[in-house]
């Protein structure tokens, strides 16, 4: 493509893309405010959003040479916690608060038909599964559009990097089919079935209600049939066997940055905010307490729930299981942490707050990754120049440089294997790879380049 047409792409495409997305957002806002809109506008809205993001993504980067596109990140309001960041943070947070705790503000109605935003999505819901939309359907649809639309942007941004290409394609496909189309369409096909989670990759403990009595009952009920049994067995095999085995071979990245929905949103819509993660040692300490605390919490809650299920009791040591165990977890962790803080605060705290500080699935796989796995980020001998790009762009707040400059491999429980540290390193120092377990952790690295210099890495 000639230079002129590339620049046209940029000067025309960006405003067109932004304009389309804006049209989509305005339509959503109108229906959110309760204005009844003709159903044709739903399709206009969805198409405008999806294509708007894609056109914006393609034209932002397609006119430039292939390479790292971080110019001006810390100079922009949206990506450096300026006014735009605060506004978007407040809007997204507001949406989550309504979604979890005040769905009637989105149009949910206890008696009779829904109105507002939720009713606006009815045509799509009827088309997919033959029933009216719920707030979760609206949420799932918008979530999927964000991952797919902004996934395209990410792919164009990193088009020189095949690891990023395949990884992003994978999260897009996983969201679109495993999390969205397949479960929704199956709901429609088996309307007589009671609800149970049908996203094949949504394992306990991320799916915290998997072992709750209603969920087990729905899967094992007669109406649940063999499909229910399949999901029950799959869910158990998934977290007991599949998860640790795959994590042993390739690290937790197979989940966190290749298929997971939370990770998928973080890597696509959240990409412009990845550098905002806190890199201090203090936040690393906080991270270890919090994330393992949540893991412990869900293990306790689930144990109590299972006790209730098998004993037939509604309470445990005199405490009502729903009120004292299930409900607080769903409120604090399931909604407030993973949704409101996890996504709503993207523009202020970075895109992986939930994955780093809260997700019990990540905590579980992190333990495997740290102690029994073939995955590591190899540091390339003595090539590190301590520039700090890797640490700045690590969404998990890992101070990658502190290892690389000592010639040490990076073996950290929290690394989600996004590969961005490796991509932004200007000296080709970092490589994510799966290799033999011996030689994985280099406690006593040798900085290559000098004949006799061995470093003790323990202190400083």
């Amino acid at each position: 493509m000639s230079l002129a047409s590339n620049q046209n792409l940029n000067t025309l495409g960006v405003p067109i893309g932004l304009g389309l997305s804006f049209v989509g957002l305005v339509i959503l806002a109108l229906s959110w405010m309760g204005i009844a809109l003709p159903s044709i506008l739903l399709w206009v809205c969805l198409v405008a959003l999806l294509f708007g993001m894609m056109v914006f993504g393609v034209s932002t980067y397609a006119g430039e040479t292939e390479g790292i596109k971080n110019n001006g990140i810390w100079h922009k309001s949206l990506t450096n916690k300026g006014m735009l960041a605060w506004v978007s943070g407040v809007v997204i947070t507001g949406f989550y608060v309504e979604l979890y705790w005040f769905p009637e503000l989105l149009g949910l109605s206890a008696e009779g038909a829904n109105t507002g935003l939720i009713a606006f999505f009815d045509p799509l819901s009827f088309a997919l599964k033959g029933s009216a939309a719920s707030q979760w359907f609206v949420y799932g649809t918008l979530y999927t559009i964000a991952i797919v639309g902004l996934g395209v942007k990410f792919i164009v941004k990193y088009r020189h990097n095949r690891y990023q290409f395949w990884r992003t394609l994978s999260v897009m496909v996983a969201q679109l089919f495993l999390a969205y189309f397949i479960p929704e369409i199956m709901e429609g096909m088996y309307q007589e079935q009671p609800y149970f989670a049908k996203d094949l990759k949504y394992f306990w403990p991320l799916n915290y209600y998997f072992f709750e009595d209603w969920h087990i009952n729905n899967m094992t009920s007669e109406a649940g049939g063999s499909m229910g049994m399949f999901y029950l067995v799959w869910g158990i095999v998934g977290f007991t066997t599949l998860t640790p085995i795959i994590t042993y071979f390739v690290g937790k990245r197979w989940y966190c940055s290749w298929v997971c929905g939370c990770g998928g949103l973080a890597e696509t819509a959240g990409d412009p905010f990845r550098h905002l993660s806190d890199k201090s040692i203090k936040s690393w300490k906080l991270e270890r307490w919090l994330i393992h605390g949540v893991l412990l919490y869900i293990v306790v809650v689930t144990a109590v729930v299972l006790y209730g299920y098998f004993s037939g009791q509604g309470s445990f040591m005199g405490m009502d299981i729903y009120t004292y165990f299930r409900k607080p977890y769903a409120f604090l962790i399931g909604a407030a942490f993973s949704g409101v803080v996890g996504v709503g605060f993207y523009p202020l705290l970075g895109n992986r707050v939930w994955c780093r500080f809260g997700c019990p699935m990540a905590a579980y796989m992190g333990i495997v990754q740290r102690f029994k796995s073939r995955f590591r980020i190899t540091t390339n001998g003595g090539q590190c120049i301590s520039c700090g790009n890797c640490s700045t762009y690590c969404e998990q707040g890992i101070d990658v440089r502190s290892y690389a400059q000592k010639g040490q491999n990076i073996v950290r429980a929290s690394c989600v294997g996004c590969g961005v540290c490796s991509a932004v390193c200007p000296r080709g120092v970092l490589k994510l790879e799966n290799g033999p377990e011996e030689n994985r952790v280099s406690d006593n690295p040798i900085l290559i380049g000098h004949e006799q210099t061995k470093l003790n890495s323990d202190v400083i």
């Binding site: 095949r162 390339n380 003595g382 400059q405 490589k431 900085l447």
Partner: protein, 444 residues
């Protein structure tokens, strides 16, 4: 005797590596690091990323501020005016003094200025220090056009910095091609194409004659020998660096271009050592130059000197040469020796991808076929393996056979091994087959 007082002037990679490694090996020593640039150690190599908005200035610091106190390394933000070698004392610009038992000079470099008329005008500067970053931010606000003088690594970094703010750049290079004293012709061409692709106007074989001022003492244009006058509002002087030792020139310390040291980094003064950019070896280490102004050598010297300072006297013996850089989007790595012009008795093999952005140059001994060095562009290679192979004196055929082991590109990248081998085999009439990557060979 009480704890030794080790004073280090300079908090760059050389001084800081010395300080850290002394502390690692000795819990008692008093360590003082003096610098008048910034209080805390920062990575010079990150200056460009801070300007381009990839990082904030605070990200340039590899250690948290609390690190130094925790490890009892005292930081002293002050400028040393002179040194009394007899009394073992430093004189600061604020009139204070301090004494030392051991003194380490890690003074770094300053950008070269060759006495061009107008070189001190406003809007004219080099890029070396933290201060330079701040003045560059100031000097480039709202400007349209810049000229860079001197075609090396810092020059191309400056070009990238300016382009990130959409400033037009003319890049004056004295030689026939970019970085012509280091890069062979094929590599030079590859990089030149890429520099042009980024809309930097490379003016080869062009010399700066004069920098012209406007009525406010700010640069308005430059005058060149081949392209006449070029309008500009900023001039970047990037014609290399020299050891930063002006204040020591008339002292008893023996200096030449840099501070003269022996293989133990000792100067001619008792208890005084020098290392990093400012040090010049009286006898260059085997196969190396006597001044090497790169990050890695500063770090290695620091590790060695720390041993000497803590009681196990150690010689500086750099191993195989390596280096790396990035030219806009193209990464460059080198292992061993590849000279700009092929030496007598050496042969070379060059492979370039047909996209013109990926290239590898291999140099080997024509008779023994011993592998001598490699330049890679747009491909990453494993340092450890190349270091090992160079030390073992492996043949070029062996290197070719094991290219997949050495490849360090991210997973899922296309491998060019087979393609490279095909071209090598046909050029040298060989029939070498590439081996599949083997972890056991990599770690053996």
């Amino acid at each position: 005797m009480g704890a030794k007082r080790i004073v280090i002037i300079g908090n760059g990679i050389s001084g800081i590596t010395t300080a850290r490694n002394v502390r690692k090996r000795n819990a008692e020593a008093q360590i003082v690091v003096v610098s008048s640039e910034t209080k805390y150690f920062f990575s010079r190599t990150a200056l460009m990323y801070a300007y381009m908005g990839h990082m904030k200035k605070e990200h340039m610091k590899p250690y948290e501020d609390g690190f130094w106190a925790k490890n009892r390394i005292e930081l002293c933000f002050a400028h040393v005016n002179s040194i009394d070698f007899e009394e073992q004392k430093l004189n600061f610009s604020n009139g204070k003094q301090t004494n030392y038992d051991k003194l380490v000079l890690a003074l770094g470099s300053t950008p070269n200025k060759f006495g061009w008329p107008g070189q001190d005008l406003k809007g004219v500067q080099g890029l070396y220090s933290f201060n330079d970053l701040e003045s560059m931010e100031e000097n480039t606000v709202g400007i349209k056009k810049a000229v860079i003088v001197g075609g090396g690594l810092i020059g191309v970094e400056m070009a990238e910095m300016l382009r990130s703010r959409k400033i037009e750049v003319d890049f004056l290079v004295r030689e026939k091609r970019f970085w012509g004293n280091v890069l062979p012709i094929e590599e030079g061409k590859l990089i030149q194409r890429h520099i042009n692709e980024h809309h930097v106007n490379l003016l080869l074989e062009t010399n700066l004659e004069e920098i012209i001022s406007d009525e406010n003492g700010r640069v308005r244009a430059v005058k060149t020998d081949t392209h006449g006058e070029i309008e500009c509002q900023f001039v970047g002087l990037t014609a290399g660096v020299s050891p930063n030792i002006k204040f020591l020139k008339d002292s008893e310390l023996e200096t030449d271009r840099g501070i003269l040291v022996n293989e133990f980094l000792e100067t001619n003064q008792p208890n005084v050592y020098a290392l990093g950019d400012c040090a010049q070896f009286k006898t260059a280490p085997k196969g190396r130059r006597n001044i090497e102004q790169v990050w890695y050598t500063g770090r290695m010297m620091g590790e060695v000197l720390a041993k000497t300072l803590t009681g196990s006297k150690t010689e500086y013996k750099p191993g195989n040469w390596f280096n790396s850089a990035k030219f806009f989007d193209i990464e460059y790595q080198t292992y061993g020796t590849v000279t700009a012009n092929l030496e007598e008795g050496h042969s070379q093999f060059y492979w370039e991808h047909n996209n013109g952005k990926i290239g590898i140059k291999f140099v080997f001994d024509s008779d023994s076929r011993r592998f001598i060095g490699i330049n890679t562009f747009g491909v990453r290679m494993r340092h450890e393996l190349f270091d090992k192979w160079l030390t073992q004196g492996q043949s070029i055929d062996f290197i070719m056979e094991h290219l997949e082991d050495a490849n360090f590109d991210p997973e899922l990248y296309k491998s060019y091994g087979t393609e490279i081998l095909k071209s090598y085999n046909s050029e040298f009439n060989k029939n070498i087959k590439i081996k599949k990557k083997s972890w056991s060979r990599i770690f053996s």
